[in-house]
Symmetry: C2
Subunit: 281 residues, 2 copies
């Protein structure tokens, strides 16, 4: 084992959960935490996600074997820029960002070259509609898939993947472009659908008590992600705009088709396709 010290930059929901999962998996080394909100990293330490709070994020990264970047996509990119000049080839940086083409493009000049640290783009397909270390959970990644997109080889990659698997994850390799395409449809589109539905109901019904009383499980599920924070999704919307716009436009067209066929046999075919999609899950 050669990963002795891990620094987590960004100890919100995902970063703190990773720290707690490392502890639950009996990681024997030191976990150092830093967050731009001091209260988040204090909470992460209280919850056992980190052993030490870093006063200086770059100094902590410099003295670590592995650095985990956790936060919105643009924050991750900023850290990549700031850290790269200080790190050495024996060190590995990995991230949990929701978009991978933009991350890999940013990494290209900064990592993996001669005299540069390594970089491993990663993305655990796990999360919650609530954020922060207060909602972190060592079991957040259990039964989820932790995706990796190829960058350059590094001696610590295999060891980090082993730790991730000990979180209860299945690891999977995928091309960055395919990652961003699929995530646009199975993660980003559901988010924006839920946001649009919630915002529309807010505008139309406000706090109408009968709406609140009548809505059941279907409404709760379909609007759950409406609680998700803009701070995270702004970056995803920017960084994966073309794929998300494509998915949204397709959804608009599909809803129009369904609306025009509420009384025709086409509705049956649409239900059958939907039934088939669910049956194969």
């Amino acid at each position: 084992m050669t990963i002795h010290r891990i620094t987590i930059l960004g100890t919100g929901l995902i970063g703190a959960s990773a720290g707690m999962a490392l502890r639950a998996a009996r990681f024997p080394g030191e976990i150092v935490g830093w967050d731009r909100h001091p209260s988040q990293v204090s909470l992460a330490m209280e919850r056992g996600a980190v052993d030490t709070i870093a006063g200086d994020a770059i100094a902590a990264a410099v003295s670590s074997d592995l650095v985990l970047l956790s936060g919105p996509v643009f924050a991750i990119q900023d850290w990549m820029e700031r850290l790269a000049p200080h790190l050495k080839p024996h060190q590995l940086v990995t991230d949990v960002g929701s978009v991978k083409v933009a991350i890999a493009a940013r990494a290209l000049p900064l990592f993996g070259g001669s005299g540069q640290a390594g970089f491993l783009p990663g993305h655990p397909m796990a999360g919650k509609e609530v954020s922060g270390a207060a909602n972190a959970d060592a079991q957040l990644f259990a039964n989820a898939v932790w995706l990796f997109t190829e960058f350059t080889g590094h001696p610590l990659v295999a060891e980090w993947r082993t730790w991730v698997e000990r979180f209860g994850c299945r690891t999977m390799d995928i091309l960055a472009a395919r990652h961003d395409e699929i995530c646009a449809w199975v993660s980003h589109l559901p988010q924006f659908l839920s946001t649009a539905l919630s915002a529309m109901l807010e505008d139309r019904f406000g706090d109408a008590p009968d709406l609140r009383a009548i809505g059941g499980r279907a409404l709760r599920e379909m609007t759950r992600l409406g609680a998700s924070p803009y701070s995270m999704w702004r970056d995803i919307a920017h960084a994966n705009e073309a794929e998300i716009a494509d998915a949204l436009l397709s959804m608009e067209q599909r809803l129009a088709y369904l609306r025009e066929n509420l009384k025709t046999p086409e509705l049956r075919d649409e239900f059958e396709r939907a039934n088939h999609f669910r049956t194969n899950r």
Copy 2:
């Protein structure tokens, strides 16, 4: 207590669950069941939802104090037509149909008049994406709202409402038109969104293993209702078409607005409206 015998016509998910909930609430009388699929009513009896299987649905209804009509909206309307000529003023018919204006309109010439049985339009806001007596559950209605729309008074209404409350339901009165409007937005729209999303993903990705592997909780939740049966939703689409088309068109416009603002500050406002909707739940 004057309800001694109840006949349930349609012992699928909702009808069989009502029978099981009556038993769990210690209804002391007889529960007679009938279903157009003999296997459904046999299963309902095995599961304790009914005591007796009716050979002749009309004969069973004629000898009951209360008749519960459970099934797709058009099937309920058919039973209203067929039963009304045989029933007497001391008897009460109630239903669980998902649309109420069309049911109340059909009831108007058939029930509540001189020499006619009573009618109480009802709708429990509970269900599952799977159907049939096999999925019935005495707890299906726990913590749900069971809606009633006013029709004409009847001596058995108060007693039936008391049973419903013993299922763990809150009862609520609502005008039929308001019911159909709100249900279009909080129940029918979520269903058609989920169907459209599932069908679209089926067309675009089919059985692609990476899509299946990567999709997490968001995808599972947003497509859960994609498994719902066309047989039930066809009638709802017909009977509440104008309201549903209105809700779908609004959703299309909302998605277009969001798509056009993926990189503008309007996206923040949309997330804030959605956050507010969820915070107030």
